[in-house]
Structures are given as C-alpha cells and as structure tokens.
C-alpha cells in the first residue's frame, strides 16, 4: 500500500482564501480611498489621513487589527497565487520561489505586527 504524504497546503490555501475574500470585498475601495481620493482631496478631505488621525486609528484596537489583517492577508493571498503562477510559467517550486513569495508575506506580517504593537494603544 503506497504511503502518501499529507500536504501542508491547507495553511497557505486558507490564508489565500481569506486574503482573497478581503481583497475582493474591500480592496478596490481601499485603494481608491488611500491612493486616489485622499491624496487628491476627492470626496474625502486630504486631512483624513493626517498623522494625529492615523496614529489614533493605529492605536485603536480595531484600527490596529484592521491594518494588520489587511496588510498580512493581502500578502499571504498574493504570495500563494504568485508562487503557483511561477510554477505554471515554468519557474519551479524551489526554495528561492518560496522565499520570494511566502518569505515576503511572512516578513511583511512580522514587520507590520512589530510596528503596530510598537505604536502602542
């Protein structure tokens, strides 16, 4: 009887799915707000992301959690998809590919957690 190895994919697939759902629901509007509306003062005042306001948001439990979840899950979603796309265009599942994708997601998760906790409550 052939012994099969259990795949650890569920972890990364789960993160991919969660990140993908968040990106699908909130991605376009988040990009619009932070990258177009506020910088241009369109629909929202330019001061919406002023330092005092953003600091307060990041120090708030919910705000901190929101920022962390968005950055982290978007990165895990992208990492999983890009890793598989590399495989599909012939760049295979080597350690380098994993480092470039999941490694970046992991680093981003750690960095954002560290900074957000450092900002305090």
């Amino acid at each position: 009887m052939k012994t099969r190895k259990r795949s650890n994919a569920p972890i990364f697939w789960g993160l991919f799915g969660a990140g993908g759902m968040l990106a699908a629901l909130f991605g376009p509007m988040l990009v619009f707000i932070t990258g177009v509306a506020i910088p241009l003062g369109l629909l929202l005042p330019s001061g919406t992301m002023s330092y005092p306001k953003m600091l307060a948001f990041a120090q708030n439990f919910i705000g901190k959690g929101f920022i962390f979840v968005i950055i982290s899950l978007f990165l895990w979603h992208a990492a999983h998809r890009i890793f598989h796309s590399l495989h599909e265009i012939g760049i295979h599942a080597g350690f380098g590919a994993k480092l470039l994708t999941y490694g970046v997601a992991f680093a981003g998760t750690v960095i954002s957690a560290t900074v957000l906790l450092g900002i305090g409550f």
Partner: protein, 250 residues
C-alpha cells in the same frame, strides 16, 4: 446539384514501432453537413490510410471513447461536426497530458490507476445484512450526488487541466468527481478512508481553480467543483484532526 464540399483534416500521426516522433499528415476529406469529426476520421481510415488508429464506440457521446484534441481543444469527436470548422482546416491530435500509444490513442493506464485508488464503491457506514433490505434514499439525498454519477470517463477533463500537465501524479478532476460521488452518497461512510488521497500531495491542492475541466466536460458533471469542494473538506481534516479520537486521515 451542389458541389461536394471538401475539408482539410490534419492528423498528428505516430506509429510506435517505426516513428521517433509524431508528425502531421493532411487529408482532403469530402463531407456532408451531418458528418461528425469521428466520421471524418473513419473516412480517412476507410479511403486514405487504413493504419489510422483511434478509439470510438457508441458515436452518441455516452461511451467516452472518442476524446481527442480538435484544433487544440479536448472534445468528443462523435459530437463535433465538420461543418462547424469548414472551410478552415481541422487539426486532430491525441488527448493532451497523456502518453501517445499510437496516432489518436493515448495510454490511459495512469487514469485507470487513479480511479481504482479512490475506492469507487459504497463503503457502508456499518456492516449490513441482506435481511435488512435495501437502502432507502430520499430525493434530496439522491440530488446530493447524482450529478457526479454522469461521468463517462472520457478524460477530456484531464486533457484540459494544466495542473495534470504539470504534475501527472495529480489525482485529477475525473477521479475526484467519482470520489465525490461516493462521499456524497448517503449510503456511503468512507469519507475518512478516501481523505488520505484527497489531502495528500497528489490530492486536491494541486488544483488552482482554472475551471477548464468543467468547461469541457461533455456530461456537465462539473468535476472542478468536486475537486474544489474537497479542498474545504481536506482543510477541515487538516486543522481538526487533532480533535478527533481517530486523528483523521494519516
């Protein structure tokens, strides 16, 4: 009297006993609007080259024998019609992602092994005697799995799946459709036993939701759905295995 229409059919030929590599031959086939691509191949065999080799049987899209690549798309040749390609040339090749045995015939042994591996039979929830009589099943229970019983093992879905192409060990859409057919049957209790394969490195996580398998399926089985729904089941098995006394699939 209208003129006889002639269509060019290019066939990828390969004789294992003499050819190093496949090569193309073009045949000018006279046809009428009612003729299928299968009939075009039969014309070539009858009038041009008796050695042209291809599988076929029912010629009504139920036996699953006549699958081939028609202009690069996996189709059943008996339900694909020459008139829809005329006046352009049709190219016929053996189904993608399988080793070619000869001409349009592929080696399906890998697929057969995958079908056997998923335990394609009712594994009863508990032992049952004849005296207990037949299983009873409501229409709702029947609807849970009936769609997945329609698979005719034509393997168009394997030809369609790029992940099968990249990893021939991937269990693949057709086998997963059959696995799902049994898992979803109320008479069956074999989900845990089948999970080892589903959750393995040859299992469902090879799938990247391309969805082309379901697109090409001639019987609308939706094998892609069978694969993807089992990603959820395998994830549950992965994360909850330490809670169950039996520890889930090993």
């Amino acid at each position: 009297m209208s003129e006889q229409k002639v269509i060019e059919i290019e066939v990828l030929r390969y004789k294992p006993e003499s050819d190093q590599e496949p090569h193309s031959e073009v045949y000018k086939v006279p046809f009428t609007d009612d003729m299928s691509v299968l009939q075009g191949a039969q014309y070539i065999k009858d009038y041009f080259d008796g050695s042209l080799t291809f599988r076929w049987s029912c010629r009504m899209a139920i036996c699953g024998s006549c699958g081939m690549m028609i202009n690069g798309i996996p189709k059943l040749s008996c339900e694909t019609f020459l008139r829809d390609y005329y006046p352009n040339r049709i190219t016929l090749e053996a189904l993608a992602n399988f080793p070619i045995e000869k001409d349009l015939v592929v080696d399906l042994s890998g697929f057969i092994e995958k079908l056997e591996a998923i335990q394609p039979y009712i594994i009863p929830k508990e032992p049952r005697t004849l005296e207990q009589g037949e299983y009873l099943q409501t229409p709702e229970q029947f609807n849970q799995y009936i769609q997945f019983t329609s698979c005719i093992n034509c393997t168009l879905c394997y030809a369609a799946c790029p992940q099968v192409g990249l990893n021939p060990d991937f269990i693949g859409p057709g086998a997963m459709a059959l696995l799902h057919r049994y898992n979803m049957d109320s008479r069956d209790g074999g989900q845990a036993q089948r999970m080892e394969l589903v959750a393995s490195e040859e299992g469902v996580y090879n799938c990247s939701a391309v969805g082309y398998c379901s697109e090409v399926c001639p019987k609308h089985v939706d094998p892609g759905n069978a694969v993807n729904v089992n990603k959820i089941n395998a994830a549950k098995d992965y994360f909850l295995r330490f809670l169950s006394p039996k520890g889930g699939a090993q």
